[in-house]
Every structure is written in structure tokens, then in C-alpha cells.
Symmetry: C2
Subunit: 131 residues, 2 copies
Amino acid sequence: MQKETLSKNQKIILDYIEKVNEPIKAYSILHNVQKKGIKAPPQVYRALDKLVEIGKIHKIESKNAFVACKNSNCQISKATAFSICESCEEVSEISDHKLSKYLKTFQEKAGMKFNKYNLEFFGLCKKCSIK
Amino acid sequence: MQKETLSKNQKIILDYIEKVNEPIKAYSILHNVQKKGIKAPPQVYRALDKLVEIGKIHKIESKNAFVACKNSNCQISKATAFSICESCEEVSEISDHKLSKYLKTFQEKAGMKFNKYNLEFFGLCKKCSIK
DNA sequence: TTGTTAATTGTTATAATATAACATTAAATA
DNA sequence: TATTTAATGTTATATTATAACAATTAACAA
């Protein structure tokens, strides 16, 4: 799904998330797109749901925040991994090929039919480690 | 930390979570322990925070639910992995040694000092696959 | 082009999840 | 036993998310 096929509100919200370039919360998004005519939470959550569904953004579950996908720009994201600094709150998307390959293998061994996973690492980023 | 060293409310809430044996939400816990004298959300959330901290329970982030730890009974849990059935909502804790070893190695390679991770797989469990 | 269906939007209200703040009590320990 | 740390009780409120329904727009088959 290309950006051009997104609806008006979806585009407004994706543009904003891409612009801020860090995880952002739904009500913060709402606050920041009100000048564009988006007035109520359901308008934001609907767009977020859709954008997550098509892989344009991810939800950082441990933070109830949303961030633009950095990996591929037009592919449903079934495999997400993030590192989260517990000090400065910085979040980066991890796209380690070996990791996703390993997790895929793991899925195949298990008794379940998996179709998605999310991995969140917590710790101290480089900058905060040396403080 | 042993169960005996838990406070009154912590014990009540851990007992309840262990009894139900599936992920349960904070307000559902509250509802079910009111007969034991726990009356308000902060009492529940405080106990939950502590129990998570000492590894007696885990939070399933994608569901805002809490579940008793199945792995070791008295150890801080820094490495959690769950499989979640998208149909029947069943959640199981995964304790695959190779997986945790792999993720540990992965941590060491990365630029961050990790101290915790949480992995959530989504899919269909055996029962729901054959329906 | 029109009629029909599906998707999206706008809107109000409210549900569900979680914490702030502060007074009180109990437990641990110097 | 004095002190301080942890836990509790309580009220209020903040934060996150969805229900419900009417109105509008887009997609597309007849």
C-alpha cells in the first residue's frame, strides 16, 4: 500500500508521525494535528489502527506510543523489534536479519501457527551508559 | 524473594493471579479481591508493580494483562516470551533455552547495555488452527 | 451515469487503564 | 525505642481507548 492511497486523515497522521521521528502518543498526535481539522480521539485511533495494519507505523506496546516504520516502506510488518533506553527513552527499530530468521525458525518449531511477533529490549543506550 | 516475605496485599493479589492461571486485567483483579478488603485501584497497581519487579508475575503488554510466572518461582524475570492466540486469546509463557540464549547473544552484540526483554508472538494455537 | 456498497469521517459520550497526592499504619532496623 | 522505610487506605483525576450513530465520500457494477 502506497502513501498515495491513504485517506486524508491517515495521511495527515502518518506525515506527522514521520516528521517527529520518535515514538509519540495518540493524544499528543491529536493535539498536534488539530490545526489540520482532526478534532477527536476516534479520528486519531482509526488512522493509527489502519497505519499499524498496513505496516506504516508500529505500536510500542510498553509505551503506548506509535513510531514510523524504518525498515521497508510498503510492507505489512509482522516482525518488529525495538530497543528502548530506560534512561532517555530513546527507541530504535532493530532490523537484524539473523534475529528475524532465528525467530522465524523458532515459530516453525512451535505448536502454533504464528503470523506476527513483537520484541522489545530494554536497557541503556550508548549515550546513557557513559553518563 | 519468597512468597512469605510478600506484604498482605501483594499476597492476596498474587494468590488470585496464580489461581486464575491466565492473563487477567487489573480491574478484574480489583473486582475479585474486594471481598478481601482491597478497595481501590492504587492498591492493586502497587501490588502488581511489586510483583512484576520481583518476577512473580509478568505483564502482557499487548493486552494490559498480568499472568503468573511459570518459569522459576523466585527470580527477577528479565527475559520473557509469550505466545498469544489471536482467536481464543490463550497466552502461554515460552521458556525456550535456545531462544533466550540467542537473544542474550544478540544483546551483547548490540550497542546497548540491555537488562530486559519481552517478546510476544501472535498467531493461532493448535486448537484454533484446526477449527 | 446512476444506484449500491464499502470506506471514511465527524461527533458526543463514555469505558478502561493507570497514577498523583496525601494521610495513616505497620515493619524493619540502627 | 527512635527512626526511617515500606506498605496501606483513600479521594480524585489523568491517560488511553472505544462505542455508537449520523453524515459524507469513494469505489465500482449495472
